[in-house]
């Protein structure tokens, strides 16, 4: 296991939470109900908090005198390692909550495994985060069920969201050399091993939601390796990184 791989692995964790946290934060003040405003802000807050821990550790591992903020605010798209799904635009509440659910089910399984990591720092961050992820998953699953099994309109919108997002789910379970190294040294599970738990939870919830899982298992990829993000990430960064780019070195 080399440090460069561990750094990549930590970026993958931290960029997922950073980018999804940012997307969720775009809802501020615009949710369908006050309770959803609060819940979305809460989710975003948890994810940004987790980002501070993951990227903070990533920065230490890198040892290049960069901070978590430097990593968040001063990398361009190609250096981001989040999966494509989390950078997809919100579109509507249905897409937002479906994406959240598909991610939460993965995140929960991932953090559960990571809380047994051979790297004590990772185990500690995961143990803290898994409590939040459990809550997120309960809530997003419940909402997906309610809207899937709600009115005809809400059902159609949720099915539409599922159809659009499904090709972005497969990337969560892709593995490469970095993952192999992490798995070999007991630092992080091979993502492929998380698929069964995810499948079970997702199939169960979507069935209660009366939604049909698409049959085509084609999977978009390129986010977690950085090979090819979507066009959406660059636009997100123009906002996210604006102040740090415009006023380099300032203290806020």
């Amino acid at each position: 296991m080399d440090n460069a791989s561990l750094f990549q692995c930590l970026l993958r964790f931290g960029d997922n939470t950073l980018v999804l946290g940012h997307r969720i934060s775009e809802w501020c003040g615009k949710a369908p109900a006050l309770e959803e405003d609060i819940a979305l802000a809460n989710t975003a807050l948890d994810l940004i908090g987790q980002t501070q821990m993951w990227l903070g550790y990533a920065a230490e591992v890198e040892g290049a005198d960069r901070s978590a903020d430097d990593l968040a605010m001063l990398r361009d798209v190609w250096d981001f390692r989040n999966i494509l799904m989390v950078e997809r635009p919100n579109i509507d509440f249905g897409h937002t909550i479906m994406r959240q659910f598909l991610f939460d089910a993965y995140h929960h399984a991932q953090l559960t495994a990571l809380s047994r990591s051979s790297d004590p720092r990772i185990a500690e961050i995961a143990a803290k985060s898994v409590k939040e992820a459990t809550y997120h998953l309960d809530r997003s699953a419940e909402t997906v069920i309610a809207l899937g099994d709600g009115t005809d309109v809400s059902h159609a919108k949720m099915q539409n969201a599922l159809d659009l997002l499904w090709p972005y789910a497969g990337e969560m379970f892709e593995s490469d050399d970095v993952d192999a190294q992490m798995a070999a040294s007991g630092i992080a599970p091979d993502p492929a091993t998380l698929r069964d738990a995810w499948d079970l939870r997702v199939r169960d919830t979507l069935s209660l939601a009366t939604l049909n899982i698409p049959e085509d298992n084609f999977a978009h990829k390129g986010g977690r390796t950085g090979a090819r993000h979507t066009e959406h990430l660059g636009h997100m960064l123009t906002q996210m990184q604006w102040l740090q780019r415009a006023y380099p070195g300032a203290v806020w």
């Binding site: 609060i38 802000a41 809460n42 940004i48 809207l147 300032a250």
Partner: protein
């Protein structure tokens, strides 16, 4: 009227009115207006800050801002609940807001243009809000007073966070200092307006004060705000954009210039810099969210039916 007299005596003696108690129609109506307006202000108040969440300069600042708007949504929730005890639903209040029949604080019709505005909003806007809210913890209507207790605790925390942003800016680069001064310039007078026009011109004041729905005059609170804020500005090294400001030993407070009340009435009439955009954003959110609320209701009804059938 003896009932009305007993009601007033109870208030005068510092007692609390509770939802099931008898109350004059005017008391109820005024409270609904006031609490509703306050609740709407928390909701609309998310937007000027939400405008910078996606541009927060650090992860920590983003987290603090998220926590703050989350608190504001929570305050909205407490207040809508308090208003609901008076016999109006939250949805009715939302609709009244969307249709312009209910107001929200005029301050949120001003734009947030730089990061320093996140400091100024916390420092000045939350600061002015607290001046109003602290005495309202002793208001005569129980649910309102109790909501205020919870709110005040968080608001003063927000104000300190805002001041902390200003301190960082004022200790920062030339551009940051300029940003901070610019934010003060833009938010000073609108903050003074938050207390409303002089009580002489205020419609609801006398009766509201007798009912202890309003605890202080607008001018008292404005003076208190100026007296608190001017030294803070000095401490920050910023200049309050009012050349007439001067300590007045005799009254034990600062003399200061009145805001431009024409602007205030323009904003009230819908001509503030952001009235249209703020309301449009809320209406859009409400309309876009209709299918979600309906879906959730439909699902809840199905669950109830299933439960009844199973019993």
């Amino acid at each position: 009227d003896p009932t009305e007299r007993a009601f007033q005596e109870r208030i005068d003696a510092g007692g609390k009115i509770e939802p099931k108690d008898w109350m004059p129609a005017g008391y109820r109506k005024n409270l609904i207006r006031q609490i509703g307006q306050h609740a709407h202000s928390e909701i609309i108040g998310q937007l000027p800050e939400g405008n910078w969440i996606t541009r927060a300069p650090t992860l920590e600042r983003k987290a603090i801002l998220l926590a703050k708007v989350q608190d504001e949504a929570g305050h909205g929730l407490y207040l809508y609940c308090a208003a609901e005890t008076l016999g109006i639903t939250r949805d009715e209040m939302f609709e009244a807001l969307n249709e312009g029949r209910m107001k929200y604080s005029s301050i949120f019709n001003y734009p947030t243009l730089t990061w320093a505005d996140m400091g100024a909003v916390g420092w000045l806007v939350d600061g002015a809000a607290i001046m109003n809210q602290v005495p309202l913890q002793r208001t005569s209507y129980g649910p309102y007073a109790r909501a205020m207790v919870r709110i005040c605790k968080e608001e003063s925390f927000h104000q300190r966070q805002g001041f902390d942003i200003m301190m960082k800016m004022c200790a920062g680069s030339e551009a940051q200092k300029r940003m901070a001064q610019d934010a003060l310039n833009r938010f000073w007078y609108p903050s003074l307006m938050m207390f409303g026009p002089s009580d002489a011109e205020s419609v609801h004041s006398a009766q509201s004060m007798a009912w202890k729905i309003k605890m202080n005059t607008n001018d008292e609170l404005r003076q208190k705000f100026v007296d608190q804020t001017v030294p803070q500005a000095e401490y920050l090294g910023l200049t309050v954009p009012d050349e007439t400001i001067k300590w007045n030993d005799e009254k034990g407070g600062y003399d200061f210039a009145e805001p431009d009340w024409t602007e205030f009435y323009d904003v009230l009439a819908g001509n503030g810099p952001c009235n249209h955009d703020r309301l449009e954003t809320r209406k859009q959110a409400w309309d876009d969210g209709a299918w979600v609320r309906e879906g959730m209701l439909a699902h809840a009804a199905k669950k109830r039916t299933a439960k009844v059938a199973a019993e």
